[in-house]
Structures are given as C-alpha cells and as structure tokens.
Assembly symmetry: C2
Homo-oligomer: 404 residues x 2
Amino acid sequence: MKVYLDNNATTMVDPLVVEVMQPFFSEIYGNPNSLHKFGTASHPALSKAIDQMYKALNARDSDDIVFTSCATESNNWVLKSIFADHIVSGDKNHIITTEVEHPSVLAACRALEKEGAKVTYLPVNSEGVVEPHVVRSFITDKTALVSVMWASNETGMINPIKEIGEICKEKGVLFHSDAVQAIGKIPVDLQDVHVDFVSMSAHKFHGPKGVGALYIRNSQPLSPLLHGGEHMGGRRSGTLNVPYIVAMGKAIELATTNIEEKMASIRAKRDRLEDALLELSDTFVVGNRKNRTPNTILISIRGVEGEGMLWDLNNGQIGASTGSACASEDLQANTVMLAIGADSELAHTGIRLSLSRFTTDSEIDYTIAHFKKAVARLRAISSSFAKVGPTPGGESKECELHHH
Amino acid sequence: MKVYLDNNATTMVDPLVVEVMQPFFSEIYGNPNSLHKFGTASHPALSKAIDQMYKALNARDSDDIVFTSCATESNNWVLKSIFADHIVSGDKNHIITTEVEHPSVLAACRALEKEGAKVTYLPVNSEGVVEPHVVRSFITDKTALVSVMWASNETGMINPIKEIGEICKEKGVLFHSDAVQAIGKIPVDLQDVHVDFVSMSAHKFHGPKGVGALYIRNSQPLSPLLHGGEHMGGRRSGTLNVPYIVAMGKAIELATTNIEEKMASIRAKRDRLEDALLELSDTFVVGNRKNRTPNTILISIRGVEGEGMLWDLNNGQIGASTGSACASEDLQANTVMLAIGADSELAHTGIRLSLSRFTTDSEIDYTIAHFKKAVARLRAISSSFAKVGPTPGGESKECELHHH
C-alpha cells in the first residue's frame, strides 16, 4: 500500500480537474487576448473559472481576483509592491509579519530589509498562534502592511485572521494573509473578515502546480510585479495559462462545496491517527486540534530523529515530511517548532502528517501500524533515548510546548 | 475549414507534448522538493526535461537554465534584477533596449525609468532591424544592460544578435535577448553567440502557456525576482510545475530536432502565401524574407483597415492578427510599423499571418482564396481607397518601408 500523507506540501490533482483542463491544450488553444474565434473560444471557460473563484471565497464583484503562477508569486507581489508603493513612494517604513510564515514571505521580507524596509517578525504563542494583541502592540503610524498566514503549513494552526483584520482596519493598516493552507481545508469567507490581500495556490487543493491567485479587496491599487501586455486589466502580464486557470476554478469549487462535510470526514481520520500515535510514550502533537486545520498533525517523538523516521516511513511507502517541503532539503531543526518553544531535540523529531479528502481509512490503519513499528525500531537504536530512557511517567499529549 | 495563422501569438500544444505531461497530474504528483518517493519519482522526468533544454539550445553545464512561469516573468526578472544589482546597488544608471520590443520589456523599462533608470529605446531601420553600430554608439560606461529581441513577434525580422553580442562583450556590458520568437523557429545556438541572458516561452513552440525559462550564461549572479523556498538553487522560488516543465522539455526537443527541414517546409508554405497575396495591388510586406523567421508575414493592404480585415478573416474561420496579441485589445496603429517608418494608413492596415509546422498546404490554398475575396470586398467599401483609387502603377512589394 502507498499512503500519501504530505498534502500540505502538495496534492494529487483531482481527476475531475485533470479532465476539465484537457480541451485547452490542443483544441481550444488560442490566446484569450486575440480577437479571433480561436482566442475568444476560451472566454466562457475562463469566465466560469472566475465565477467559481468568487463564489468559493465569497468575493464581491468590486473585488479583484488575479491569477498568478503560484502563491510564492502572490506573496512576493504584495510585499514588494506595498514596499514600492507605500515605503519607497510613501511615508511608511514598516512591515509586520511573523516568525513562522512560509519562506516566500520571510525571504521576500529579508530582501526588502536590505532595501531599507523595517520588518517586525512577530513571535507566536506556545500553540504556534499569532495573538491579536501582539499585532496591535507593534503597529505604528509608519506601518504599511501586516502579513499573517491564515493557517500554518507546518502545524496546521489557524490564526485569528478576523480579529487581526479588525485591528488593521481600525488602525488603517493594509492586511495581507497567505491563505494557501486554509483555502480548501477550512471555510474562508472574505465577507466575514477584513483582509485586503489574500494569496492562494491551486496545488494545495487538488489543482495543478503552477497556478495561484491574489485576491485584492475592492480592486485597490497595487503596482504590478510583472509588467507587460496589460493582461488581467494590467495587474499581471503574461499570456493566460488557460488550462490551469480553468483547473483552478474547478478545483476550488470541488474543495469548497460542502466543505463542512469534507472537513468532518478528514478530521475523523486525522483524529483517529493522532489518537493512535499519542498512545506511544513521549510523543507530543503541536497545538490544540480544535484550532487546527482538520488534516494536519505535527508530532514529535522523543528519541526518534525526524529524518530517520521519514526514511523508515518512506520504506513503508508512506510519504510524510519533517516540515515544509520548501525547506526540506536542509536537515535542520523545524524552525516553527523552535519558534513555539520546543527544545532542540523535539524540533529535530517533528514529523508532519497531512491528509486529504482522498485519504482512506485503510491507509490510516496501515500508517498507524507502520508508524508504531518504526518508532519502536528507531528508539531501540537511538543513543539519546536509550541512555535517558522514556521520560518517567512518560505521558503523551496534544499540548502546548512550553517555552524554556 | 479552420485555419490558425496566429502562431506568433500562441500555438497549439503538440499532442505528443500533452501526452508526456499527463502522468504528472494524478499519478506522479509529489512535490519534487520532498524527500519521499512521491516527490523523487518526478526527478528522472525533470532531469530529462532539463537535458532537452540544454541540448536544444547548446547550453553548457556551467550555464543555468531556470524555469519560470512565462517569458514575461523572465524579461521582468532580468530587467528588474539588473536594475537592482547594477544600478541601485552599483555604479551604472543606463539600460539600452529598442522601440520594438515586446510589451513586457517596454513596460518593465518604463517602470524602471520611474525608479530612476535611464533607458535608451533604440530605433530600428526600415527593415525593422536593430543595427549593431547603433547599439555601439549608445553604450557608455554607465550602461548596465543591452536588451534586444532575437526576432520580432510582429514582423518576424531577425536581429543581428551575434554582432550585438560581440559588441557587448567587447564593451563589458551585459546582454539580454528575448528569444521567444526565435526558439523553435530558427536555430538558436548559445555557443555561437555571446549572450548573457535569454528569455523563452514554451507556448510559442507548441508547449503549454504558463511555463517559460531564463538562460543565464555561466550561472552568473542575478538577484531573484521571486524569493522563497530556494527552489532551483534559490534562483526562482515556487513549487516546480512538473507537468509543464516536462512538457517544455519535450516541446523544445520536438521543435528544434531537424529544424532546418521544418524551416524549409514552413518557409515554402509561407512564401507561397506571401507571393499570392503580393499579387494584389498596393500591398506591402515588411522586411526581406531572407532575414525573417520562416513562418511570418506582416502585410499591409492599402485601403483595407486591419480590424475590418481581421473580422472578415475571422468570419472565414481564419485566425490572424493585426499585431501583438498582447496589445490586441487596443484598436491602435501597429507601433512596430510606425517605428519602421510606415505611414499611419499603412500602420492601420497591417495583418500578421504566422504559420506553424502544423499548417497545411490546403489551409494555405483556402487562405489565399478567402484573403483575396476579402480584400476586394473591403476595398469596394473603403472610402479612402475608393476616393484615391489604386496607386498609379500600383505595384506590390516585399520591401523596406521608407522613412518619411
């Protein structure tokens, strides 16, 4: 049996999504900007995809949703253009983000620091969550933008986006959220929250890799990142990737229709897996599961090095992760776990398991059995665990990791 | 019969290309950056695609070819990062480009002018070609970059890239070429020319829309445009679009294998079409066909407004263009034709016909017949042509358009 439990890294494209994009490769292949029938033939499908996006996110007609090549582009676009528009060509100098953002936000912020921006990287609490009062306390009259991820790729923890949005609105500060790990996993209603810019990526909700979008509240100004042929009303140039835009519309529709039911089904499997793994001694799961995306477990197993565990799972045809795939070529401690106060050993033993709506009960059964055997084997050969032995009383918990 | 003659705007994806990408949607769908088998399973196909790119372009192992989302991204990347690296953080202040570049180069340059760059937009000669001595005459010790398109999207005219490259090398100035309209149409050998950066796009050579690349000679430094998870060695972040990268490799292989034969076949059809259309009185084709991509005709028909002609062709199921699809929503005079010295009437009567290796002889026959009928009909109702009548002696020519 093969079990893919790395859906926070990327997902299988839903076969229904693969199907809808097919006609746009070799049949309806004209450039949608062309005036002839070969070009305009794609317009109904593009309109449908746009409608699917607006409906899924509850966006208003006065808002913009602009397709990009990925959420990395969307995140870079917002950060760099807010820097250009409000810091270089404005009287602001400050951006607020968090220590636990996706690398595309963190690396873009570091690049902007070199160009003169002041960036505050907010800490998270022991649950891995950004607290609204912390955001409030760092906003000054020089703050151009607050950027806080909707849900964490590593822990699945959901930030209080509504409360942070209210604070930003009250303070008159622009608010961006990287919602890559929220859309398709939990309800995202853009009328319910006040957020100016929202980044998203199709390949996290069973669409293809290589297409994303940026939501822009009330179609407000934002300089382009890609200048050129005035595609998408001049917001993002480059010939439209028709097959993938059509695919993204279908994928978001499939992911968000009856999302409560889908969440319940995924959560039941996730909880069963999590409960079973917590039966092992000295295991720790990051964050209260009530405030977590229903598909995610970040578990630490004392005495079991994350990379070793990953290797063992891989040998059992189980795909998991020690954290972000975007940083997985480095054998480093999980930076998010360090940020929430885990000790270095725990941060080296984190394993992320992320389910999808395609995960089956038998896959969960198989994973539980294989995981337990792997832990026993790895602990038997672990020098640190063998020396120290299980923690006295060795309980397992889904809990806060305490600062030390 | 449907006849697609707008291949400079975009092309049909070759069915063989569609086929090779299919396994990477729902079967081999892991993130290539992941350490598990779901991720690494895509590596052989990615390696193959990269090999196909290097081979097609005759790149060296020491060069970089970085996949992007489109040539618009590649062009923006080079221009903006050279500006950041050599003008903002350097002692240069000057970029040289041409009046007839693609909008993604022109718009990016205009944006950089607002940020303080000095940009020279070189004129082209009456054939639409950039002359090397003109490039040389504008290079100063403050010039950071010369950016000249390899071949024109509108006229098909091929620039003397080798000569311009030698001048840039001699002067110690970086040289970028947007080769979107050259690759797959004419031989592009990156050992034969000295060019530092080359932009390309798969959808111009029967690959999908939404994937491009940037060639970087000798893997020289260039700040990223998209910061993030250190994909592609930190050059371009964002989860790899595996299906489209695999597709681009296959597409460039198919387009460049036996390219001389493919060129001869396309040229024969193009020349036959061009000769037939030039039988009409008062018609003008831009540029000597020997120095033109073998698939392109930009023809002006005195007395026939371009948009009207396009409409008539469209009614006959023939897809053509009045110029760049990237600017085709504006009913303006063809700016490239104005740049080469056409009078305003001619610039409003330009029709671009661009063939591909899928264009058939019967499609050419059909187009000739329909085109001639359309011209007769439109000239009959043309107020300007009716008043003035055909030019005395009314010859047709494939010629320079004289400056006036």
